[in-house]
Symmetry: C2
Subunit: 111 residues, 2 copies
DNA sequence: TATTCGATGTAGACATTGTCGACATCGATG
DNA sequence: CATCGATGTCGACAATGTCTACATCGAATA
């Protein structure tokens, strides 16, 4: 039975792809992650996650068409599948319920 | 160097404790998780997470004082530390930025 | 033209987190 | 005394997070 939930980083990656629309390439995902979530990760880390996410059917990719083809490898463009979006939504809802009413409490004086 | 981020389940556990205020006992945390996030987990899973969270300084616990003392073990009451709250806040902010503007997109027609 | 650089991606290893089931304690009940 | 219920502890293993090599190939450059 495959895992039922998305890990923390997996969610971030999926969300970054969604944000980038048709510009979701590995390197730009890394930049998006860094900008929006102040989260830095190596390319290896990202690719591993991308690979697992694909295996689970949460994302797809296609080699960039009619593109400059500058490197030794064709650049891959990633897109989130419907299942991926659904998983994201479920997780978001769960957290919304868990956070309900806590914002003020958490924003006030600590400890 | 200890890990910088909270895992998905760790966040949920911390949030459940916050929701329960002074009623955060292991079994009630499990119930809270199930009710708010439809997330079920065994006691073993929860205790392991609780133990790791404590090691990282994100939560504390105290044996229930002047209580009925019904079982072989004193019941433990959990509370989130200031560091725990801060970690939660950071994670929440990161996700807020990542979700920015995507709600509509995700709510609409799928795939 | 040989070297280096930049943009990609792959592979393998290992650390952290998520997950359980089995085991143990002890008062209350049958 | 055998069970049950409320607690916790342990040890094993699966899933996720993370990095450092390593490899390719066009372009820029020495």
């Amino acid at each position: 039975m495959p895992p039922r939930y998305l890990g923390e980083f997996e969610q971030m990656v999926l969300l970054s792809i969604l944000q980038l629309r048709d510009q979701a390439y590995a390197l730009s995902i890394l930049a998006e992650l860094d900008q929006r979530a102040s989260r830095s990760a190596s390319r290896g880390t990202l690719y591993k996650t991308l690979e697992r996410l694909e295996t689970k059917g949460f994302l797809r990719w296609s080699a960039e068409e009619g593109a400059p083809e500058r490197g030794g490898h064709p650049r891959r463009r990633f897109t989130v599948t419907g299942r991926g979006v659904a998983a994201l939504r479920e997780s978001r809802d769960a957290f919304r319920n868990l956070w309900e009413g806590l914002d003020g409490l958490v924003e006030g004086s600590g400890e």
